[in-house]
């Protein structure tokens, strides 16, 4: 790990370790908020911010944090940034905040964030951790965008609230319901694995 370049740390989050599909982590928000593209992107950006900030802080403080209480310290750092995001979203993107609701505070327990803190930031330098957080965050955002586009286009006939098909299109409602999320995710995992095998 130590010899990898910063660039590699960044790009691995985009494909090799793209969070929901390769690490299969953080599925709760993925299934719940990907009903529409703007929700998906909003959630992705919020998570990226938290990931980057907490990765940087934790890698800076990794020598200060005693091993026995590290998880408690990580949670405090992560929770702080999550509340910062929540307040910012309320102040500058209130409709999005209403849409995402409880899933913003739930970023605290998103396994991706704690996972990166524990598995990466606590063992690596600041720059590498920043790249790692950014890469994983952008990967997460891309996956959310892809999944929510698929669901919104099929389930609602719109993309970013703009109609894609003609007025005759009968929305495939199943896709915006909860079970549709599982099916979509399964299909995307399957495609990712097929592409990865070659």
């Amino acid at each position: 790990m130590a010899n990898k370049s910063v660039f590699q740390e960044f790009t691995k989050g985009l494909w090799a370790e793209i969070p929901p599909f390769r690490l299969v982590l953080g599925l709760c928000p993925i299934l719940a908020v990907t009903k529409s593209v703007d929700n998906g992107i909003g959630m992705g950006v919020a998570t990226t911010f938290v990931l980057v900030c907490s990765n940087v802080i934790i890698s800076l403080l990794k020598t200060v944090i005693p091993k026995q209480v590290r998880i408690a310290c990580y949670i405090v750092v992560i929770a702080t940034f999550v509340i910062v995001v929540e307040l910012m979203m309320q102040a500058y993107a209130y409709p999005l905040f209403l849409q995402l609701g409880i899933f913003i505070p739930l970023i605290v327990v998103n396994c991706i964030v704690l996972g990166r803190a524990e598995a990466f930031a606590s063992k690596n330098g600041v720059v590498a951790s920043l790249a790692d957080g950014l890469g994983i965050g952008i990967g997460f955002t891309l996956s959310l965008t892809a999944l929510s586009s698929l669901r919104e286009i099929l389930g609602n006939g719109t993309f970013y609230k703009m109609p894609v098909f003609g007025p005759d299109f009968e929305p495939f409602r199943f896709m915006v319901e909860a079970p549709g999320a599982f099916v979509c995710l399964g299909l995307m995992l399957c495609i990712m694995n097929m592409l990865g095998k070659k």
């Binding site: 200060v64 944090i65 005693p66 026995q68 209480v69 408690a72 310290c73 405090v76 750092v77 929770a79 702080t80 509340i83 910062v84 307040l87 910012m88 309320q90 102040a91 500058y92 209130y94 409709p95 209403l98």
Partner: protein
């Protein structure tokens, strides 16, 4: 023992620092958040009660002291006439119903009523918010005189069918807003004058 103290100190420092940061962020965003909440929760209702306002009732809002509490008032200027909107609450079927009442301060008549927040049964009590013809019954009624009541209780307001409790709640909310208005009238008038 030293180890224990160290653990303790580290966690305390972490929490202190994050507490401080959060307080700072909260302080910086509080005003903005308050405005956003007003805009998205009360904004649409304010717009419906002040259709022809030439000002923005949200940015012009002011607070009036009511004993220990503060009441937020939204002034509206319509064709040169002054009006004020106040929120009141009443007990509904599923909880408190919030209502914004716009009052023409010059002739003391109600200009419009709109429901802001409620937790009434969808399809029954929720019609108080969705069906404008229910709240339109208050339009033009004078704020002086008897409190508003539904017809079944000897008043003038037609209750929503199947939602008498909600209708009573809305009347109660309107009454509480009107009471607040009458209690605070002198200081509201003073502020309104300063605005125009």
């Amino acid at each position: 023992m030293r180890e224990m103290v160290k653990l303790f100190v580290v966690v305390v420092l972490f929490s202190m620092f994050s507490g401080g940061l959060l307080a700072a962020v909260r302080g910086g965003t509080q005003e903005k958040i308050e405005y956003q909440q007003l805009k998205f929760v009360k904004g649409p209702v304010l717009q419906s009660v002040f259709k022809e306002a030439s000002n923005d009732p949200l940015t012009d809002r002011f607070k009036v002291k009511d004993g220990k509490e503060e009441v937020t008032c939204f002034p509206g200027i319509l064709n040169g006439k002054k009006a004020v909107a106040i929120e009141g609450f009443g007990k509904g079927y599923g909880g408190d119903i919030g209502v914004i009442v716009a009052i023409n301060v010059e002739n003391g008549q109600i200009m419009g009523v709109g429901v802001t927040t409620h937790s009434e049964t969808p399809g029954l009590g929720s019609r108080a918010k969705e069906d404008p013809s229910f709240t339109a019954q208050f339009n033009g009624l004078p704020v002086e005189g008897d409190p508003f009541k539904v017809k079944g209780d000897g008043g003038k307001i037609d209750a929503l069918s199947g939602a008498t409790v909600t209708s009573r709640g809305v009347c109660g909310a309107v009454n509480s807003a009107v009471e607040t208005y009458q209690r605070l009238k002198p200081s509201i008038m003073e502020k309104l004058k300063a605005k125009a």
